[in-house]
Amino acid sequence: MTIKTLTHLQRLEAESIHILREVVAEAEKPVMLYSVGKDSAVMLHLAKKAFYPAPPPFPLLHVDTTWKFRDMYALRDRAAKAAGMDLIVYQNPEALAKGINPFDHGSLHTDMWKTEGLKQALDQYGFDVAFGGARRDEEKSRAKERVFSFRSANHRWDPKNQRPELWRLYNARKAKGESVRVFPISNWTELDIWQYIYLEGIEIVPLYFAEPRPTVVRDGLTLMVDDERFPLREGETPEMRSVRFRTLGCYPLTGAVESEARTLPEVIQEMLLTTTSERQGRAIDHDQAASMEKKKQEGYF
């Protein structure tokens, strides 16, 4: 008998597919949160594999802030279509009416568009399980996050009231009104994600690759001037810099890194040689050590 040794990526893939299928078998109305980033791209790819030859039996949900990069919107629509899945785009109507934006409203921007927007979307459509592309290696408090993370009827996360997860057995039972966030790629690291994208030829947003882009440097972050809504300060003129992004969010909140990496191997090379963690480019983490945890308790993904 020949033994086939499974690689780490094969094991991770098998685990993620198992989780995706388990949810579909047990949930009433699942949805996949799709943020168009590289983690979402991998999660969507795994979903397609899990249910092939059928399309994944759930829709994609993009909780939009209207402030994503234009390239992200383009890939979002294309990827959903290619997967044969329904795409729901949700924008918090209150944030839309008030014109909430990252320039004038600070942390209210994330609260209203993302945290509140997500809760509203889940409530409005009655989704009981939402897949998310979070990974345990992203941030310290995530290291203890379960694969199945339970939220109360008002979407709060209680770190003391999470269920033990043994073997490959996930307890998906819940009371009416409660919901679950499920993280199929919990055990993947940033390097795993990149290697898998490389190996499987998964399409990702071109912003991950270096290219000359109009940017300004502000408060230590290199920001891309992606459209005319970017209010330039006195003395600021966008300059063309060869930059790429390690994570993608709202363009006014996402710092770019100067880079010449134009191919996937070059991006991975830079990532391996880099000396800063990927969340460094995100404004949201800089508040205080446990900020992510607080946000999570309030219902931020």
Binding site: I3, V24, A143, E165, L199, P265
Partner: protein, 635 residues
């Protein structure tokens, strides 16, 4: 800090030939391990060190770490690696980890997932959780303290969860001057203990997580040590592929993929063995057989799939097969049974209630199951057997489990996926226990159901009535017995054949051996349910008057009856009113502390959520109540 070992010279390859690097890293294997030790054993420091030495810590994290180390570290001016891995804010303040955290690092040869679990006695739950997915355990010992009670506890749990590779990491060697004698004495002490609990083999390594000795490579401080350093050992220890794939093919069916009428794919993660197109397979428990037609994947059909892979299989014949069933090699089927002996690890604040029905999830199947009173509890520190009536949080015991249907299974020792299960409380939905099947008990299989010629329909037809159970539930003194009595009188006048089972009366005979603890109350209701079921088989209309305070048991009885035959009648009397009446003087006694476990006083009453009939006795007389019930029974 010791110098970097040659195994970390990958930087050069990254810079010079990234494609070659990626190619090399695509063939990495994966190892999951658990670290066990108490706060003082330097466990977090060791993990922080592994992350640091394998370059999983970035500059910004290191800067934050240095700041944190000065603020709240315990290592003076040195970097406190423990701060890297302590996560949640509350825990950081207390300076302890209180949950299972998963960490990741990788070398050229392997990706590692570390389950970091606390060593405190009250957190057996977390360690069992972390160990359930681990291939290997690192048991930490403080060289100054040697083998402690908690070392024994951790080793016992690791062995219980079936982990085959154990590393005994004798830590803090720097604090005992790298003394060979100290290391060897601890190793020998541990060997004696390990043998006594059935651990066949382990690897002892003298280390210092703080100083970095014998972590990535041999330390100059321990020239007398000839074994491997920790990381090289973790990189080369055999993974489970061979063992998993050598067994017969087994795959619990997780999902049936049916996009169109001409495709039916059976999806699941292969629990054991290998499978190829053309292989003969059997579906359990039905026993139907077919052959594998295709192994379907997005990249095209495959000719082989192995244990650990998630696959989609199609069969050559159209046979019934659904989620929860298990596809197995036709010539090597699994055992199928509905009663087992198992080790149970209780994980919930609410203690186990013997006789109560819980959900049992095993593989991809969820069934209803009851746990019998434990045969014994195991003292985790001494492995002694203790007589216990139940199991509470973090207790481990051996008990018989009965499922409501036959399920395919393997012993846990043979296969974790087919022999490990969780129990779920039907009302709180908490995962309350983990279980490991030892073997099936033959009792249920040896008692066959004797078919009788005169069946329940015949009995009912002779009485010219539809059998039913009118289940009155409510507080003591709510008026159940009074109402039940009137209902029976009225039905008798209508020539209906009835029987009234009254709580007090039953306790004089059938249930006189039972008290009022939660477990006894569950058994009380179970027996009454079984009696009521026999009576409905006999064609009777059964009226019962029991406090029956717990939803679980009322639901259990409902489940025993034919659909529509069980009518739950909630005799709704507020506690103040019932206590005010206090016909039997019981509330007064309970208030005075002379009566324990009295419903409404020091034992809960779980009101029905959706009873068929609700009687508000503050507005409805007993006679009116009886009429309401009869109107519902005989419309």
């Amino acid at each position: 800090m010791t110098t970097q070992d040659p195994i970390y010279k990958t930087d050069a390859l990254i810079a010079e030939n990234i494609e070659a690097y990626l190619e090399a890293h695509q063939h990495k294997t994966m190892l999951r391990f658990i670290t066990c030790g108490s706060v003082d054993d330097g466990k977090s420091t060791l993990i922080g060190r592994l992350l640091y030495d394998s370059k999983m810590i970035f500059e910004d994290q290191l800067a934050a770490l240095q700041a944190d180390s000065r603020k709240m570290g315990t290592q003076g001016q040195e970097i406190d690696f423990a701060l890297l891995v302590d996560g949640l804010a509350a825990e950081r303040e207390q300076g302890i980890t209180i949950d299972v955290a998963y960490r990741f690092f990788a070398t050229e040869k392997r990706k590692f997932i570390v389950a970091d679990t606390p060593g405190h006695e009250q957190y057996t739950r977390n360690m069992v959780t972390g160990a359930s997915t681990a291939d290997l355990a690192v048991i930490l010992i403080d060289a100054r303290k040697g083998v402690l009670t908690q070392t024994r506890r951790h080793s016992y749990l690791v062995h219980l969860l079936g982990i085959r590779h154990i590393v005994l990491a004798v830590n803090k060697m720097d604090l005992v001057d790298y003394d060979r004698a100290v290391f060897e004495r601890i190793r020998d002490d541990y060997a004696a203990f390990a043998r006594s609990i059935g651990i066949a083999d382990f690897t002892a390594i003298p280390i210092s997580g703080f100083k970095g000795d014998n972590i990535t490579g041999p330390s100059a401080n321990t020239p007398w040590f000839e074994g491997p350093a920790l990381l090289p050992y973790l990189e080369t220890v055999e993974v489970e592929d061979t063992r998993d794939q050598a067994g017969p093919f087994r795959m619990p069916v997780q999902w049936v993929n049916r996009p169109s009428l001409d495709f039916r794919g059976f999806c699941g993660l292969i629990a054991s063995g290998q499978v190829r197109p053309g292989d003969a397979v059997r579906v359990l428990p039905s026993g139907k057989t077919s052959k594998i037609a295709r192994i379907v994947s997005q990249e095209g059909d495959r000719d082989l799939a192995v244990a650990g892979e998630s696959v989609t299989l199609t069969l050559q014949d159209e046979i019934d097969c659904s989620r929860g069933q298990v596809l197995v090699a036709a010539q090597a089927p699994l055992e199928v049974a509905d009663q087992f002996e198992a080790t149970i690890v209780w994980m919930d604040e609410a203690e186990m209630v013997p006789g109560r029905a819980y959900w049992l999830k095993i593989g991809t199947q969820t069934v209803s199951a009851t746990i019998h009173a434990p045969k014994f509890e195991i003292n985790v520190n001494t492995q002694e057997h203790l007589a216990k009536k139940t199991l509470d949080l973090n207790a481990i015991g051996v008990a018989v489990v009965t499922t409501d249907r036959q399920i395919p299974f393997a012993s846990y020792a043979e296969n974790r996926d087919l022999g490990g299960f969780i129990l779920i409380d039907k009302h709180t939905n908490h995962t309350v226990a983990a279980g490991m099947i030892h073997f099936a008990l033959r009792r249920a299989q040896n008692i066959h159901w004797q078919a009788t010629d005169i069946g329940r329909d015949h009995h009912a037809a002779m009485k010219n009535q539809k059998p039913a159970v009118l289940w009155l539930t409510g507080l003591s003194g709510s008026g159940k017995s009074t109402i039940a009595n009137i209902v029976e009188r009225k039905l008798a006048r209508m020539n209906r054949h009835t029987f009234l089972l009254d709580g007090d009366n039953v306790r004089h005979g059938l249930n006189k051996d039972l008290g009022f603890t939660e477990a006894d109350r569950v058994e009380n209701i179970r027996r009454v349910g079984e009696v009521a079921k026999l009576m409905t088989d006999a064609g009777l209309i059964v009226i019962t008057a029991f406090i029956s305070p717990f939803r679980s048991e009322r639901e259990m009885v409902r489940g025993m009856m034919q659909p529509g035959e069980f009518l739950e009648v909630f005799v709704d009397t507020p506690l103040e009113v019932a206590e005010g009446r206090d016909v039997k003087g019981l509330y007064a006694k309970a208030r005075a502390g002379q009566l324990k476990n009295f419903t409404g006083i020091d034992s809960p009453y779980e009101a029905p959520e959706a009873p068929e009939i609700r009687i508000d006795t503050t507005e409805t007389s007993a006679d009116e109540a009886a009429d309401l019930i009869i109107a519902r029974l005989i419309p």
